[in-house]
């Protein structure tokens, strides 16, 4: 018998999936039928149950610490307001069994002992499903709601975040299974924490750590200490470059490439045909950019009041005010003049009005097409190392994820790139992360 070349294929990379509750920006479309409450528990329950039905790794909540303002007044055009994440997730632990529960919590306006205790509590009461998306701010505007105010400069907020996570890990390690708690004695640049942690080691040891942001400091912080990176979505090539760069940094911290999952935040639009999906996507962009929102978007670039402008007319012909304080509670636009020039060029080239220009430049939905197209595109991103998976951001609360779970997940399963059942009980197990070892007393992590 002639030996044949074996035709076994290498197992395909498995896709990680998470669901983001629609947020307080104009990605979330609220003026359409089916748009439900952004605050009732029923909406959170619906979306979390849908994600669990789809066998997702985790459910993700963003954080809000100050309502946005524009021109000195509260911004009123987008969804405003949300509940406090850790409390919602504790309640969701009662109505889900496997789904990971991820809260975004700021290190600037919290203290490590209190937050480590709250996260360990969530991990205990969910049976090992807690995750923490570590974020920072240096925003004095947000600081006005807190005891300390806006007290950190940009560089210090990252050193504080790193020390914060390090102290939290020390606390989580301080009460090993079956032993007595060991006192912690941390004296650092930002924190002095002395005493015993009152929560025994939780099912995951440490909750899963997520890092959001693509900056240099963010990448290094992720390589040192995160289990998941929540990154901005970009094209295949840029995605692959980012992926390679972050994974390359892991070795310096003694970590393996599969110990850190890279998950861009993405949107999706489905249709029965490619044309129908495109049409639906364009309609969503028109909803996202109402006439009022178009003027506001332009005001954020120009930094001045444009309320006298017609959204269906031309863009302003003067240059932006670079020092404007018009928008508060938003990410600052680095080079408004460059954006204005780009917009004006586009408007001239295509004959677009102000609103049409904003619609045209508004981030397109990441994946648009038939369920089969979208499944193929997602798979291509993962198999070519532009991502390990995705954090899906639906456009509509609470039903926006259902079509994806009903129509795309089965196709990913057919491709052999997504689980057909949960095989573990903890989020670490879902993500294929190694168990968290207990570090020796007094030895901080490499954050």
């Amino acid at each position: 018998m002639t030996p044949t070349t074996p035709t076994t294929r290498t197992p395909r990379k498995q896709i990680r999936l998470a669901a983001h509750f629609p947020g307080v920006n104009n990605t979330t479309v609220w003026a359409v039928p089916g748009s439900g409450s952004q605050i009732d528990f029923a909406s959170f329950e619906h979306l979390a149950r849908t994600a669990e039905r789809g066998l997702f790794d985790f459910f993700f909540l963003a954080e809000g610490l100050r309502v946005r303002e524009h021109k000195g007044r509260i911004h009123d055009l987008d969804v405003v307001g949300r509940p406090e994440s850790l409390t919602v997730l504790a309640a969701l632990a009662a109505v889900t069994e496997h789904l990971g529960l991820a809260a975004t919590v700021n290190t600037t306006f919290n203290e490590p002992y209190e937050l480590a205790r709250r996260l360990a509590s969530l991990d205990h009461l969910s049976g090992g499903r807690a995750a923490w998306n570590v974020v920072t701010t240096s925003d004095a505007f947000t600081g006005e709601n807190f005891r300390r105010g806006g007290y950190l400069d940009r560089a210090a907020r990252y050193t504080r975040a790193a020390e914060f996570v390090s102290v939290a890990r020390e606390l989580w390690d301080s009460w090993p299974d079956g032993e007595a708690p060991r006192p912690v004695d941390h004296r650092g640049e930002h924190f002095t924490v002395r005493g015993e942690f009152t929560v025994p080691r939780s099912p995951q040891g440490h909750p899963v750590i997520i890092q959001a942001g693509d900056s240099f400091e963010g990448r290094e912080f992720a390589a040192a200490t995160a289990d998941v990176v929540f990154t901005r979505h970009s094209g295949l090539d840029a995605g692959r470059a980012f992926y390679a760069d972050v994974k390359r940094r892991l070795a310096a911290y003694g970590r393996q490439p599969d110990h850190l999952a890279i998950m861009p935040g993405v949107t999706f639009v489905l249709g029965d045909t490619a044309a129908e999906a495109q049409e639906h996507a364009a309609e969503i962009r028109r909803q996202q950019v109402s006439p009022q929102n178009a003027l506001l978007a332009a005001e954020q670039i120009w930094g001045v009041d444009l309320s006298g402008y017609d959204p269906d007319g031309p863009l302003p012909d003067f240059d932006p005010d670079p020092g404007s304080e018009l928008a508060q509670g938003r990410v600052r636009i680095a080079d408004p003049k460059a954006v204005a020039d780009k917009w004006r060029a586009l408007s001239r080239a295509k004959g677009l009005s102000l609103r049409e220009t904003v619609i045209e430049t508004t981030g397109r939905q990441s994946f648009i097409g038939t369920p089969a197209d979208v499944a193929a595109q997602l798979d291509a991103f993962v198999q070519t190392d532009a991502a390990d998976g995705f954090i899906l951001v639906p456009h509509v609360t609470p039903g926006g994820l259902d079509p994806f779970v009903d129509r795309v997940v089965p196709l990913l399963q057919e491709r052999g790139v997504f689980r057909t059942e949960y095989t573990g009980t903890t989020l670490r197990a879902h993500l294929g992360l190694p168990p968290q070892p207990v570090r020796a007393a007094g030895k901080g992590p490499t954050a």
Binding site: V79, P83, Y113, L122, E144, F146, G195, E196
Partner: protein, 341 residues
């Protein structure tokens, strides 16, 4: 006393109860089961204590975990104010009210120990008078933040593209002795308007905070005459703060340790006697062993009180904790100010 008698129970495992208790204080499922048992017994609310030096999980998280597993019972966790951010305290309690559909309360507590202060390293321990004065301010600003969104602030007006009416969101601009908060809250107004604020008013200076800010004062007392006196005093002091004394309920907080059904019936007699003496609006029971004692309260004490017409039947439909307690739902102070402006 116009309202029905209320029974409530503390779900805390006393710290001296040995190794088995040591395990249950970190077992949220145990607390959830007790909350369900208390609900079946027709109790009005449960409390769960907390503090940074106390073994156990974060109390608001545990009661949030209990919220979807229960339907009627009020959920009152302790949240301390000394080392926490007032804004976070306010949003956590408001969110507990959202996830429980209007059944949240907040037991205000402080931290006075050096051990707690060392866990934060931010400020030294301070005497009770100081930290309770601050706690009063935290209760004040929390209520302002709960009011900072008027009930009908969300409008979803398609014609103007506005999701909210910005005139119905308000900066609170609170400046206290140790902190300031600009506001408004990030959380829309909770179902109860303001979740129920509870204070253990047994001692000064907490009693003054209760008179000024609480909906519910818990008083640890040993006889009905003392309870009556403290209740009268609290109501008088509430009036001096410009409050309607009827809006401050005073509960006698009693330690209980029951061995059998006869003990449970005896507890019913005692409660009926105290009630007849006008000693309290309700009774907050603090079991030595919640697993054992609560079952006897539900099986032996509550039925006797119900048979005497002193306690409501369990499973009354829906309703918020305020509604169960007979407390009005307060209008937002900012809505009132805007309407009278």
């Amino acid at each position: 006393m116009p309202h029905p008698l209320h029974l409530a129970v503390a779900l805390d495992t006393p710290q001296c109860s040995g190794r088995a208790a040591h395990d249950t204080v970190h077992d949220a499922a145990h607390v959830v089961a007790l909350a369900r048992l208390a609900e079946r017994g027709g109790l009005t609310f449960v409390t769960l204590g907390d503090g940074f030096g106390r073994p156990g999980l974060d109390a608001p998280a545990v009661l949030a975990r209990a919220a979807p597993a229960t339907e009627h019972i009020g959920l009152i966790p302790t949240v301390t104010t000394t080392h926490t951010e007032p804004f976070h305290v306010s949003t956590t309690v408001a969110t507990l009210d959202w996830v429980s559909r209007g059944r949240a309360g907040w037991a205000v507590e402080v931290s006075t120990t050096e051990a707690d202060a060392a866990l934060f390293g931010r400020r030294p321990a301070a005497p009770p008078a100081e930290v309770w004065a601050e706690a009063g301010e935290v209760a004040d600003v929390a209520a302002r933040l709960w009011d900072s969104w008027e009930d009908d602030a969300e409008i979803r007006d398609r014609a103007t593209g506005r999701f909210i009416d910005r005139d119905k969101l308000h900066h609170v601009d609170f400046t206290g002795r140790t902190f300031s908060v600009r506001g408004p809250s990030i959380v829309p107004r909770p179902p109860q308007g303001r979740p129920v604020i509870a204070v253990d008013a047994t001692d000064e200076p907490a009693r003054e905070v209760a008179a000024a800010h609480a909906d519910l004062a818990l008083v640890r007392v040993e006889d009905p005459a003392t309870a009556w006196t403290v209740r009268e005093e609290l109501r008088d002091r509430a009036a001096t703060h410009g409050r309607d004394p009827g809006h401050l309920l005073v509960f006698a907080s009693l330690p209980v340790e029951l061995d059998d059904a006869a003990d449970g019936a005896g507890l019913a007699d005692l409660i009926a006697d105290w009630r007849a003496a006008g000693a309290a609006d309700g009774f907050h029971l603090r079991p030595a062993d919640p697993g054992r004692d609560l079952a006897l309260v539900v099986e032996a004490t509550a039925p006797v009180l119900r048979a005497r017409g002193l306690l409501r039947r369990p499973g009354h439909p829906g309703g918020t904790l305020r509604e169960h307690l007979g407390l009005p739902r307060p209008a937002s102070r900012y809505a009132l100010a805007r309407e009278t402006a």
